[in-house]
Symmetry: C2
Subunit: 414 residues, 2 copies
Amino acid sequence: MNAEIIAIGSELLTPFRQDTNSLHVTGKLNELGIAVDFKTVVGDRLSDLVTVAHSAFSRADIIVFMGGLGPTEDDLTREAVAEALGLGLNRDPEICEWLRNLFASRGYQMAENNLRQADVVQGAEVLKNSRGTAPGQFLQAPFEGKNKIVMLLPGPPHEILPMFDDQCMERLKKIVPVHYMATRVLKVAMIGESQVDRRAAPIYKPHTDVQTTILAHGGEVQLHLRAQAESLEEAQRKVDSVVSKLEDEFDDSVFSAQGETLEQIVGYYLQMRGASLAVAESCTGGMLAQRITSVSGSSRYFLGGAVVYDNSIKSMLTEVPPLMIKEHGAVSKQVAAALAEGIREGCKASFGIGITGIAGPTGGTDEKPVGLVYHGLADGNETQVIERRFPGDRERIRYWATTQALDMLRRKLM
Amino acid sequence: MNAEIIAIGSELLTPFRQDTNSLHVTGKLNELGIAVDFKTVVGDRLSDLVTVAHSAFSRADIIVFMGGLGPTEDDLTREAVAEALGLGLNRDPEICEWLRNLFASRGYQMAENNLRQADVVQGAEVLKNSRGTAPGQFLQAPFEGKNKIVMLLPGPPHEILPMFDDQCMERLKKIVPVHYMATRVLKVAMIGESQVDRRAAPIYKPHTDVQTTILAHGGEVQLHLRAQAESLEEAQRKVDSVVSKLEDEFDDSVFSAQGETLEQIVGYYLQMRGASLAVAESCTGGMLAQRITSVSGSSRYFLGGAVVYDNSIKSMLTEVPPLMIKEHGAVSKQVAAALAEGIREGCKASFGIGITGIAGPTGGTDEKPVGLVYHGLADGNETQVIERRFPGDRERIRYWATTQALDMLRRKLM
């Protein structure tokens, strides 16, 4: 069975706003073994809506309409679906009463146009909306001789998401054939997406019953694996067999096999060791500390950090000798090491990280181009420095640099 | 004239990935007075692609295909468009040679399947791709008796966005009737979205020729205004008249009228004054410094900062007296002020900001709940502290707190 998701609303056709509900709904449909084959965004014009509904009914088994169920004259999803299916609309007296009571309980006089929300497509079940005034609708109806499952759901995320999870999923489970699905996410640090794909493809491609998706962001590549089977054990077995081969291939580049973030993993390791961390950042300007402290409970291992943007501050907060900066430059192996050592000692931490580099877009030279970053890691015995040249713009370079620093510490802690 | 944007790729039908190119392309088309009436996402199956292309050609004047132009057998956009328009595909010898040279210059042997990227729909102009191997295509062709403008563009954002801006826009400008469009963005800090809308609606609603969109994020509300007219002056006049009324209404809560970010505005003011800034952050953990340093050139006014996560570090890096922390607690008015003063003095900056609070989800008490944040601002003469209670989750509280701190400094500098 396949599905089409249709998001309705002229604001979703501006440069400013985007449908996000469909990601959640897709995940839920996938759990039932239903693939989403089409997504459509359409405005509030009735003729456009009917056209889109027609196309959807002719190419999908399950059609989810999101939005256009409110009280205004722009809310035309009910009319469009009824027209496309050749069905009538009936005003439901129970919903009318519920609406009147709802407004009365809030101390408002109800405007009559609100009753449009009580118009139900012939044969549809009403889905309660506990967070808004527009009820949803769920129906099965024939279109060109085939049975279609059709949902009309409200647009606001806090209304549609609980309605879909609580009311649509249980109805779908009774209708669609049972499939069990198992998923795993493997995360790999500091290897390019194309290289991951080149090495991973020969492993996952032969397993045609496991669906693999590769995603990359800021120095991290995620491999999402998914399999369906008659039993959950069987689905899990399929996924796990591919995961274990991928783990062998990528070995210690795999930092997470259950979806954890790199900053969470580094936090686990530090806590397990009873160790603490302090960081001194130049070009990343606080981004490394911000990522580390985005983890709730990070105060158990993260002591603090210095953002040493100006050279004088490098000397002041982390005791980097001014002469060293003069001799080697602020962006140098030596300063990265001195930053790591200085912040470790200053904060009395087990580990110190220092980052210095050129995030651009200006400030690069032939010798020290934009993207050049040095990452230092000090543990009191030895100080390691990694030099990298990252591609991309300022934000991308900064993000890669923080990922490299976190990965360096992770490998040290392993 | 209206447009449909079609994003192609099975990964865009997973719960993990979303088309974002269409937002940029929509903005550019809107500049030419072209409304986007439909957006569609479709996978890599040829029959699905042809179906979607057919629907699009029958309901839109301008059709933008994004993705599916690569070398693999899953890249079928060229075939689908040719089939839907009833046109042939010709292998272009110039592109073949360009591809061979491109691979040779990188020291690779070219796999033969790369030549699929040289297949051009009959009558199409080739659009150069300076950042990838898949050229774009631009053509005008009849469909059911009407002229259609069709673009085939690559999927990766760093390939499609410059190609659209540099090559598609100039071609479109020659074809579509001229409309002039003026836009303005007003940004307001630290007022809730519903309050902004309540105050702004009576002002913009009567101007039906100006389109207004309100967006909110992390303590900032944006009012996007847009108008079209026969001349640029006329369009600008329409927008400006609404903008000036909105500026009167929101007064000094408006921090930007040309789209600048809050961190850019603070940077301008600091530079204008020849002043410098240092920050000490507890609950925001580096996020404030990271936002400030996200602006290229921020090294001219930002000296550095301390992330004082552990209490001992508060005393060490910013000289907050341990007794003060004991007496008032780390999350207190006094500590916020001491952090601001300590970092200002330590870094010899004109201004010092200190933030301390409870970002949650744990660590709150009845007296000091999750979301309580103190923001201190010291200038050497006086130290101001603002107490706020922010709603939401950890990331949202942290972001609001950094916005409040930046806005506090902005008001001081005004």
